[in-house]
């Protein structure tokens, strides 16, 4: 009965999204305040209804109600509680429900916190958000209903894919979805601006925090997914340029560009039309990602044919939203007023350069991801596009961008002085040069590119610090007043410097871990020792062990450095009993920022076992850098200027000031 309630709530939510799609928009276009006022309460109600649905499905998972097809297919009564809950979104139907839940949650947030928005803008934005919600709710109800039931329920479930039975599943998809779906708000704002034919100050103020929020979650989501793949899949890679990864990376690249162009729009009223277009592109890429992953078109062309209804449905939604918004853009964009002028060498110019390279990089990744599909469809020729291709085409686009990063925030608005900016970066440049030479000295000429990569990373990091130091004029006014000024810096300045520092940290991790990694592949007998980068790994033997829903064989290793004990490591090989599926559990030991990584391979008849051991110098910096970037976004969001709302005309302000404080 409860399950039917969840199903009913979902249908009701769909009906209400139809209301919010039409009524407030009608009101906004005809200036009817009562119709516009419908938007907020209905959006909030839709959120609560979907929340009920989600809670019901979660309840069915926790109670192991195998009469629900979705629960039967993806759960097992012996599964730990955490994985019963995360299993809700460990499958197609449930993950779509989570997607829709976040979608309507954002709609409700705009309704509740959008008090300082003009009424027609808020109503139109919520209506557009309603269209998206209605589309996805209809998709769920028509093709992927998680509440389907069995007449004769089975006794035991099929269990969740063992690779997904990990804390990673609890964190990674929700973060990623908040990122993906967060861009729907900027999309709705952009479409609303096009419908109303204006982008005012309030519009500009709202777009940036939402973009920041979505972007920071997407950054964390991608980083989490990357780390999960790194420790779970067992061969030590952390990024594979897999189409499914690209699907999340493209909105990130476009979102990063959007973040930067939104600054220009907010501060200088320039690049309005471009920002609107980027907002449309970014969410379109999120939708494309959803389509690529959900339809299965990328895994194999046949998966698409086995369940064509889902793929075709999402493709229809994709065409409707992307085609519709781009047509609207072509029609209405000329009406948007262009703002301030600027010289090529200026803060704006720097941000345009950022957008140029990020957009080109997005295009390269997009074409690389879709080209094999298109070529196959047109000519029938099968080609593969993988990691070596992306390294070659994406990498060169990032190098000039990273070189330019430290200049951007130091240049003045409107008309900057490149020479003066360079002088402020002497110290950063010197440090980068020093580190490059140091790496050369340490590693010799065998890897020429790696020291340059290290230099680039240090340049970006030191540049970010220089920016803060020059902003507070630390050396001119002395440390005491310098610290006072440091404290008084706006959040967005801290945000910029922190995020730029973070990208430098990530680059450093990528360069060092890929260039200076050491790998050993050996067949080891108990008592054997293998040496990686100065660490001695001794294999002590393997023992069987039992988990709640798996059996495993655990290898025991002792790590020593120069004879001194460092750590014990226990990589294992598991077999999940319900699906009889084997997995490899790597053991990872972190030393400083570096990691020793051991995974087990085939077991020989004589008790020996194949072992793959790595030392990956500074590899954790890759993910730490991402966390720092997200932190930077949080600093920017905390900026007071984003909270106080758009400036109001003087008369209104006086009026509101005269209202006594409550």
């Amino acid at each position: 009965m409860l399950v039917e309630l969840g199903h009913y709530a979902l249908v009701l939510a769909f009906a209400l999204t139809l209301v919010v799609s039409v009524v407030p928009l009608w009101g906004a276009l005809n200036g009817d305040g009562r119709l516009m006022a419908v938007a907020t309460p209905v959006s909030v109600t839709v959120f609560f209804l979907v929340l009920v649905s989600f809670a019901v499905l979660t309840g069915a998972y926790v109670a192991s109600d195998f009469s629900v097809v979705n629960v039967y297919e993806n759960s097992h009564s012996a599964k730990p509680l955490l994985f019963k809950i995360t299993g809700v979104w460990g499958n197609h139907e449930g993950s779509m429900l989570l997607w829709v839940l976040i979608l309507v949650f954002f709609g409700a947030l705009v309704g509740v916190f959008g008090g300082n928005l003009p009424d027609d803008l808020r109503a139109t934005t919520l209506a557009v958000q309603g269209w998206i919600s209605a589309g996805f709710l209809l998709f769920m109800l028509a093709t992927s209903n998680p509440f389907n039931r069995y007449e004769n329920p089975p006794i035991e479930g099929n269990d969740l894919n063992p690779i997904l039975q990990d804390i990673g599943l609890a964190i990674h998809p929700p973060l990623l979805y908040v990122g993906y779906v967060g861009f729907s708000i900027t999309f709705s704002f952009a479409v609303a601006a096009l419908i109303l034919g204006r982008t005012d100050a309030a519009w500009a103020r709202w777009v940036r925090p939402w973009t920041l929020l979505a972007w920071s979650f997407l950054t964390l989501g991608i980083a989490m997914g990357s780390y999960w793949a790194y420790y779970e899949l067992g061969w030590g890679g952390w990024w594979f340029w897999d189409p499914v990864e690209n699907a999340s990376f493209m909105p990130w690249l476009a979102g990063t560009a959007l973040l930067h162009s939104a600054i220009v729009m907010e501060k200088r009223e320039a690049l309005k039309v471009w920002t609107v277009l980027l907002a449309i592109f970014t969410f379109s890429l999120s939708l494309l990602g959803a389509f690529l992953v959900r339809s299965g078109v990328l895994t194999s062309v046949h998966a698409f044919a086995t369940d064509p209804s889902r793929g075709v449905f999402i493709l229809g939604l994709l065409c409707l939203f992307i085609g519709g918004s781009l047509s609207l853009f072509a029609w209405r964009a000329p009406m948007l007023k262009q703002g301030g002028l600027f010289a090529p060498i200026s803060r704006e110019g720097g941000l345009v350069l950022n957008n140029l390279f990020l957009t080109a990089a997005t295009a390269a990744v997009l074409v690389g991801t879709l080209y094999p599909l298109v070529l196959d469809a047109i000519t029938g020729e099968m080609i593969s596009v993988g990691e070596p291709f992306f390294n070659l085409t994406f990498g060169p686009l990032m190098v000039p961008l990273l070189m330019a990063v430290p200049f951007g925030p130091i240049l003045a608005w409107k008309r900057g002085d490149l020479l003066a900016a360079s002088q402020r970066l002497y110290a950063a440049f010197g440090l980068a040069l020093l580190m490059t030479l140091f790496t050369f000295w340490l590693w010799g000429m065998e890897r020429v590119l790696a020291p340059l990569g290290v230099g680039l990373a240090v340049w970006v990091m030191a540049g970010a610090i220089s920016e803060i130091v020059t902003r507070v004029k630390f050396f001119e006014i002395g440390p005491k007043r310098g610290f006072a000024r440091l404290y008084g810096l706006p959040g967005s300045a801290w945000g910029t410097a922190t995020a730029h520092f973070g990208i430098g940290v990530t680059v450093l991790g990528i360069v060092t871990s890929s260039a200076f990694q050491e790998e050993q592949v050996r067949t080891m007998r108990p008592g054997d020792t293998v040496n990686v980068s100065g660490y001695e790994l001794t294999f002590d033997g393997a023992v069987p062990r039992r988990g709640p829903n798996f059996v495993e064989e655990v290898g025991h290793f002792t790590v020593r450095e120069g004879g001194a004990f460092v750590a014990e490591m226990e990589p294992s090989k598991r077999v999940y009993t319900a699906r009889q599926m084997p997995t490899t559990e790597a053991a990872i030991h972190t030393i400083g920022f570096s990691q020793v990584y051991v995974s087990l391979g085939e077991r020989r008849n004589d008790g020996a076992v194949d072992v793959r051991a790595y030392c990956k110098p500074l590899i954790t910096l890759i993910w730490i850098g991402c966390v720092i970037m997200a932190l930077g976004a949080a600093f920017s969001m905390a900026d007071r200027r984003l909270r106080v709302g758009a400036p109001k005309p003087a008369a209104k302000r006086k009026q509101s000031a005269s209202v006594p404080a409550e």
């Binding site: 992953v293 957009t359 993988g386 070596p388 592949v521 391979g601």
Partner: protein
């Protein structure tokens, strides 16, 4: 959920149980040849997996290909000859980095073309806006005062005279 499909395809690759991508008995004695073999393996696709190189994959087919690459190298083939041999046998699908040819032109050119298109668009926009603002500044004289404004101006000036 972006990992789900990767995981599923991985599972398909691991039909024979988990093992290491490269097993110790495949490794060649000669370190120089082995380094070349590893570099080549990273550019060759495991054709039964999703977008994995034979260097990363656990599938039996990937193992066969790794052994084959090493056999060719030991027999004295150059890297290019090994690649040609595999493309002849399995088609271009086996290459993770497609060859530059007419049918992959747009694939390789997408990034640079986007960059060039972007630069062109920026230059054109800047030129157009500079010329329109320059033209606006040069051709339009300051707007004339309306009759009403003329009268107010006169009144103001005369009141100033009086004081």
């Amino acid at each position: 959920m972006k990992r789900l499909l990767v995981c599923l395809s991985l599972v398909l690759c691991v039909l024979s149980g988990p093992s290491l991508a490269i097993s110790p008995d495949e490794i060649l004695e000669d370190p120089a040849l082995e380094t070349r073999a590893r570099a080549l393996s990273a550019e060759l696709r495991c054709m039964v997996c999703q977008n994995q190189s034979i260097d990363d994959s656990d599938a039996p087919l990937a193992k066969d290909l790794r052994v084959l690459v090493r056999e060719r190298l030991v027999a004295g083939d150059t890297d290019a000859q090994v690649i040609d041999f595999l493309v002849d046998r399995y088609g271009e699908f086996v290459l993770l980095k497609p060859r530059f040819a007419w049918h992959t032109f747009f694939l390789w050119a997408a990034g640079p073309l986007a960059l060039i298109a972007g630069i062109t668009a920026i230059v054109i926009t800047l030129r157009r806006r500079q010329s329109t603002t320059a033209a606006a500044g040069a051709n339009q004289p300051a707007p004339k005062l309306s009759a009403e404004e003329e009268e107010r101006l006169k009144a103001l000036l005369s009141s100033k005279d009086q004081s």
